[in-house]
């Protein structure tokens, strides 16, 4: 029996037999090919490419028959890239002019393309970069004449163990035969992780040592939630996994049953559960979870898949699509929230020593390069007006709440509201139809949290951005692994700030939500409820887990655990108390 710990990438428990998927290895020579032999290398590339194309065509037919036109279309795109004339010329050039072997030329040409895609700083194109590796690998195998491992006919109940899996691998898998994945490489956003979540198959990624032990045919059990993997488990461990598998299935069913029900406590207190989205497609995808609205619409995505800025019209179309999809439920649209760490093209970002403490969020609209307040730089001013106009127009179709991120002071709110009034007046003067909106701010700087009582007099709602609030309160970069222990979402200092913000909002009777990761952490649900939080906003699949806890609780219980957390000496103690309280509440209903 051997236990491993990877990264849980797709929740669920799987028990099955190992199917080790090892892609054939390729020996690539970097020796210079003599001029006389280069034409033969070119021929070998062209023939290999033709062979790879035949492989893609049969994959496309198979995928079309089993999974439909959408996924088949993806691989048609891959086939097009395989045969791309610019790529082909680059490869032939490397062989003819640089004397590279066909294999080395393909490897390096693909890597160059990949690097270009990765440099575009665009989530969508980054994923395409991984596709390029996959296409390149298939092309190299075809040139080398190495047979692909057949993934189509693996035994039923297999758990695929691999170094990594690319799109062309997972597309060939027969879903009914795969029980789960354990992958040595990758993180939660790798292709196989996303694919596993889409297929609702349990998966563990980043399990680097799995190949030390696992061989095909062994019994293996995995927990895609906490990342535990057990190869060749003994009877006791196996029974434990089976027990948890059954419990998980029951829980999933209960969660599906929960989606039509409101998040109301046993004593009748109603909380609102919203979703975080980035695109109109996300809003559509969230509808089966029956959210009470959109608690955070990140408008950044509109700005990232491109050079230049989106027009008012383009923004209007996206915002209106989300607002309509939500059919009158509130949609909190956050104005462009980017900074120097991830600059958007065309707004005049310059290098900063501390981008997280720099020109970001609503500060874009506020502070000009010439010191002017508000910002009068033409590009930013134009973008601000385009975004506000698009939001005001989209409000005609539903219930829109506009939210400014990264606020530090009352003066900033005054300036932003004035600008917004100006835009509204201009639209009205031009005879454009605009809707009523509520205007709010994110509370994510400690300074804003501490003057929340003053800010509450200026706005219609608050949304606590717990990720940045934690990062700024504890002065800890979330992405810095070495100091990861400093970043503690349950740090009582963070919670005292949150408590103060909620109290200030309630005193002015304005709604207060929370849209950071904390909103989706089960242990945080009760104490946030007890502090008086009105709205939680999270990734759609998390909704039932939080709803289940709220529905099982009563307000006095929630208030008691909230008080206990504020008085906890450490984050660990706070988390332990919150966990105990949650389990006590859930234990009662199960």
């Amino acid at each position: 029996m051997h236990g491993f710990r990877g990264v849980g990438a797709s929740p669920g428990i799987a028990i099955g037999r190992v199917f080790v998927h090892v892609p054939p290895s390729l020996a690539v020579s970097d020796a210079t090919v003599p001029a006389a032999l280069r034409q033969a290398e070119v021929e070998s590339f062209l023939q290999g490419r033709q062979k790879a194309l035949v492989g893609f065509e049969s994959l496309i037919d198979k995928v079309r028959a089993e999974k439909g036109d959408d996924l088949a279309g993806v691989f048609e795109g891959h086939a097009e890239i395989l045969m791309d004339e610019e790529l082909g010329e680059a490869i032939v050039g490397r062989i003819r002019d640089d004397g590279q072997s066909a294999l080395a030329a393909v490897r390096d040409a693909m890597e160059a393309q990949r690097a270009e895609f990765l440099a575009l700083d665009d989530e969508y194109l980054r994923q395409r970069a991984d596709d390029l590796s996959d296409i390149g690998r298939r092309l190299m195998l075809a040139i080398a004449g190495v047979e692909e491992v057949r993934l189509e006919d693996l035994p039923k109940g297999s758990i695929v163990v691999a170094q990594d899996l690319g799109p062309s691998d997972t597309a060939r898998l027969d879903r009914d035969r795969v029980a789960g994945f354990v992958v040595a490489a990758g993180g939660r956003t790798s292709h196989v992780a996303i694919m596993a979540r889409t297929l609702e198959l349990p998966a563990v990624v980043g399990c680097a040592d799995i190949f030390d032990v696992a061989t095909s045919g062994q019994v293996i059990a995995l927990d895609g939630g906490d990342g535990r993997v057990m190869v060749d488990p003994d009877a006791e461990a196996l029974a434990d996994f089976e027990c948890r598998r059954a419990a998980h299935a029951t829980a999933m069913e209960a969660m599906r049953a929960l989606s039509p029900l409101p998040a109301t406590t046993g004593d009748g207190h109603r909380a609102f559960l919203g979703v975080n989205i980035g695109t109109p497609a996300d809003a559509e995808a969230a509808l089966p979870w029956n959210p009470d609205g959109v608690g955070l619409y990140r408008t950044e995505f509109l700005f990232m898949n491109r050079t230049g800025l989106p027009s008012e019209e383009e923004q209007y179309r996206a915002y209106a699509a989300v607002v309509r999809a939500m059919k009158g439920r509130p949609v909190v649209i956050r104005t462009l929230d980017v900074g120097g760490d991830k600059p958007v093209d065309g707004l005049g970002f310059t290098r900063e020593d501390n981008p997280f403490l720099g020109w970001r969020g609503a500060r874009l609209f506020l502070y000009g390069s010439d010191g002017a307040i508000p910002n009068r730089d033409p590009e930013v001013k134009q973008q601000m007006e385009a975004q506000l106009s698009a939001v005001l127009r989209a409000a005609v179709d539903g219930n829109v709440w506009l939210m400014y991120p990264m606020i530090s002071s009352v003066e900033e709110v005054d300036v932003l509201r004035q600008q917004q009034d100006d835009v509204r007046a201009r639209l009205a003067a031009a005879g454009r139809q605009v809707g009523q909106i509520r205007t709010g701010i994110m509370i994510e700087t400690p300074g804003a949290a501490l003057v929340a009582d003053k800010l509450a007099e200026k706005v219609d709602f608050f949304s606590i951005g717990s990720n940045d609030l934690t990062q700024y309160t504890l002065a800890a970069d979330r992405g810095n692994g070495r100091i990861a222990p400093v970043y503690q979402p349950f740090h009582p200092g963070v919670w005292r700030l949150i408590a103060g913000v909620i109290k200030a909002a309630r005193r002015r009777a304005i709604p207060v939500g929370l849209c950071g990761e904390l909103a989706g952490i089960e242990e945080a649900a009760l104490p946030l409820l007890g502090l008086g939080l009105d709205e939680y906003s999270m990734a759609a699949p998390t909704l039932p887990r939080i709803k289940r806890i709220i529905r099982a609780a009563t307000m006095p219980e929630a208030e008691a655990i909230a008080r206990a957390i504020l008085d906890a000496p450490t984050a660990a103690a706070a988390l332990a108390m919150a966990g105990d309280a949650m389990r006590a509440v859930l234990g009662r209903v199960q």
């Binding site: 048609e76 795109g77 097009e80 179309r317």
Partner: protein, 86 residues
């Protein structure tokens, strides 16, 4: 040389499937065809370079062709872009 400007009207722009269809259409013509957006130029017959230009909904791009069927190519592709729906 013949050129025309067109607005991208479909939500996914010239990525993925619409991009693939656009490239296939471009290959029906013998002229050299370029898609120009701002400073960036792409060979209309290469999906890879077209993706890197990143033609998204709302963008105005110029389609330019040089060759025996340049007018047909540009007019055909402009009309094609206008009919994209995905």
């Amino acid at each position: 040389m013949y050129a025309q400007e067109v607005e991208i009207v479909n939500p996914t722009g010239l990525h993925t499937r619409p991009g693939n269809a656009f490239v296939k259409k471009a290959k029906e013509f013998t002229s050299t065809i370029n898609v120009i957006k701002g400073e960036k130029r792409a060979n209309a017959k290469s999906l890879l370079t077209l993706m890197k230009v990143g033609c998204s909904m709302g963008d105005h791009v110029t389609i330019e062709a040089v060759g025996p069927d340049e007018v047909d190519a540009v007019d055909g592709l402009v009309a094609f872009v206008a009919t994209l729906k995905d």
